[in-house]
Amino acid sequence: MSTGDTGNEVGSWAERALRRRWRAPVMFTVLGLGALVLFGLLAPGGERSTFGISTAGDIVEIDPVGVPSRQAAILLALLCLAVAGYALLLTARAEPVPLWLSVLFGSAFVLSFLTWAVAGETISLTGALQGSLALSVPLIFGALCGMLGERTGVINIAIEGQLLAGAFLSGVVASLLGNLWVGLIAAPVAGLLVAYLLAVFSIRYLVNQIIVGVVLNVLVLGLTNFLYGRLLSPQAQTWNSPGRFPRWKLPVLGDIPVVGPVLFDQTVIVYCMYVAVLVVHVALFHTRWGLRVRAVGEHPEAADTAGIAVNVVRFRNVLIGGAVAGFGGAYFTLGAIGVFSREMTAGAGFIALAAMILGRWKPMGAVFAALLFGFANNLQSVLGIIGSPIPSEFMLMAPYVLTIFAVAGLVGRIRPPAANGQPYIKS
């Protein structure tokens, strides 16, 4: 039993590595065929799907676009299959499947699904995209936070807590001082405090990072719920009436159809998000700082030998991440709703974690994953209104199922930073 088993284990590992490379293209093919059959061939013909483009106040009015549902869905499914074919070809040549191909596949698949789902109905495309972005904003901030930590090897399960803390403190400070901007400054401070606890416990006291993260989530949830019940709810006028940031329409960009109202007619928090994504992307992959950060996450011993203070880099990055997530939390109160409510982040921190993983620890990837999740989440409410062929609960489940598929290696290989989760003890 003993030696034989070990041999099998090794054999199956090699086999698995070989098989895993094929999984993504095979999965694409299966999904593409599924789309072709379900959304195209089995769907009743003769109906049209109509997408509204223009929103009120556009300079150039564009008429809603109507397409024959069945034909359009089939066309998009064929595009999916073409992508899958190209991916198969690449894999046969032992080349990696690039990210843009996955994004293209995802977009075509989702659009195919959409034309099928709205057959015989009309939805506003711009509205749907606006809603998706609104739901994605905190996810993107959270994913950036997780990424900053995990790139140095510190797993951050407390994103949820940091978002909630940011939402809470920004709302309270903005209410007490009557100034939204001060609230916006307070938000990253709240995230920073939670991150500081995470860093102290996991880096200085070497407590398991995941455990600290889980416990911190409970702590922040308890604290905000307690203070909500004690102060914010009974004395809402003083404690919980921060109000919202106005939307700022950018001069020229804001007038572009579809893109303008979706991307460039937003609150200051969203504009900050664009900047944050760019900054994190450039900093991580095109600066010396980023190289050091990644070195610490991949091979702390080597980084240490090269003279990098591993735990200092980790500590700092966890704090920066916390500030980013805290800032993102302000979107819930000051950007979207205008008041704080109990448990208002509702698991966004965990979806952000999933977006980071699905985006393969890269800012751009995480943005696309977060947009996909936001889109799925928004779609369930849109389809709920027009009467969807799929129960809304299943649409809500989709991000989580997708993430499980992803970590199980069904949609491509996912490789986290090598030293992720391991405390560094200098010997």
Binding site: T6, I155, N208, L219, G222, F350, F394
Partner: protein, 415 residues
């Protein structure tokens, strides 16, 4: 480093058991090595911070503090009044109410404590047994939901003889939970998918699955439009243990489960294998144990225990299924298992403590208006303090020798 190595040996428990010391010897050693001391200090510290929070957020204290310079005594009196009334209510609500004249009424709070402790113990064991196998089971929440769905469905749709119905319903809950936990274990074993990610995602999938099921005809209570299930049939209910309280047979089941887990971990070959894998997966592989099988098995058992918690909630405490059937129990279970140091009897003790906090907090909220959520704060602070002994040592400026939590088990996403 050496401290940690020593710690892990103690965690596995092998060292202690070889000498088979008597209970009193073991107790004495626990007290002198500081584990118990650390626990007590952590609880005191957490309650103190919780008290501070209660004082600071009390409007009456804030009012008195407004003229602090004129009459400082008022502020202190209001602060004392605020915290003492809250904690006194918590005591009355969780242990004994001396204000009551009849014995049954006086111990009713104790029954409430045991009722609250029931799911915490069962789900805490689910986290503990996975922890001992080197797995972090964040998915008790989802496993509880599945267990509740399984038990509930059998409870309110099937028509079976008296004893059989209850047994089948409980088993259904356990199996449904085991299935949900098993998914994470299987994926971990076969593909290396990290169990933390998978279990977190399964929690949400379970939550939406429950929401969906509650929209179906079979799960809808007649004459109600809100998502709430029919009551489980009387033949499938866990019998109440005594009049005037919700305490039910599920509590005894949870204690039996703790005994079984204790036996499994310390006396059986399976448990030895699980612990060996948890202690050092590479060494266990070399010794001819299948790590993959152990992971799957451990998560199945864990899921089953959490399923038992769900079954006991739906068949005993609530007696119907609603979207809030788990209500964060799965996350409380993690703190319970950590406080209990992933030890079955420790988990029972921790479950009783947190059950008492929960039960007491209900009375506290009713009598003093202090929000029940203070329990979450105290609970998480206790675990944080216990996890980092050097911190408590520094705060109290004393020498407490004890092991922290988790450091040896810290691994990456893919390990």
């Amino acid at each position: 480093m050496s401290e940690q190595e020593h710690d892990t040996t103690a965690t596995s428990g092998g060292e202690q058991r070889q000498q088979e010391p008597s209970v009193s010897q073991r107790l004495w050693r626990e007290l002198t090595t500081g584990s118990a001391m650390l626990t007590v200090l952590s609880i005191v510290l957490a309650l103190a911070i919780g008290g501070l929070l209660i004082i600071l957020s009390d409007p009456r204290v804030q009012q008195a503090a407004g003229y602090f310079a004129d009459r400082p005594s008022d502020t202190f009196a209001a602060a004392w009044q605020s915290v003492s009334s809250a904690y006194a209510a918590m005591f009355r609500g969780s242990l004994v109410d001396f204000g009551e004249y009849s014995v049954v009424r006086a111990v009713r709070p104790l029954a409430a404590t045991l009722t609250n402790a029931t799911p915490l113990i069962a789900a805490g064991l689910a986290v503990a047994i996975a922890f001992r196998t080197g797995l972090l089971n964040i998915g008790a929440e989802g496993q509880i939901i599945l267990g509740a769905v399984g038990a509930g469905y059998i409870g309110f749709t099937m028509d079976l003889p008296v004893v059989v119905h209850l047994v089948v319903a409980v088993l259904g809950g356990v199996l449904a939970g085991a299935f949900w936990g098993g998914i994470a274990g299987f994926l971990k074993a076969r593909t290396g998918a990290h169990e933390v990610i998978v279990t977190i995602m399964l929690n949400y999938i379970a939550r939406f699955l429950l929401a969906y099921l509650l929209t179906l005809e079979a799960f809808r209570r007649a004459g109600r439009s809100d998502p709430i299930s029919p009551y489980v049939a009387e033949s499938a209910q866990l019998p109440r243990l005594f009049e005037g309280s919700r305490l039910h047979l599920g509590f005894l089941l949870a204690v039996v489960a703790a005994a079984v887990v204790w036996w499994l971990l310390t006396r059986s070959t399976i448990g030895f294998r699980l612990r060996a894998v948890g202690f050092n997966a590479h060494a266990a592989t070399t010794a001819g144990m299948s790590v993959a099988r152990s992971y799957t098995l451990a998560m199945c058992i864990a899921g089953g225990l959490a399923g038992l918690a769900g079954a006991s909630q739906v068949l005993g405490t609530e007696r119907f299924l609603s979207s809030g059937i788990s209500g964060g129990l799965g996350f409380d279970a993690i703190t319970v298992a950590l406080l209990g140091r992933a030890n079955p009897w420790g988990t029972v003790a921790a479950g009783l403590l947190f059950g008492a906090l929960r039960a007491g907090a209900v009375t506290m909220q009713a009598e003093t208006g202090t929000p029940i959520d203070i329990v979450l704060v105290v609970q998480s602070l206790i675990v944080l303090f216990i996890a980092a002994p050097p911190l408590v040592r520094a705060i109290f400026r004393i020498r407490v020798r004890s092991r922290g939590l988790g450091a040896p088990e810290a691994r990456g996403w893919e390990a």
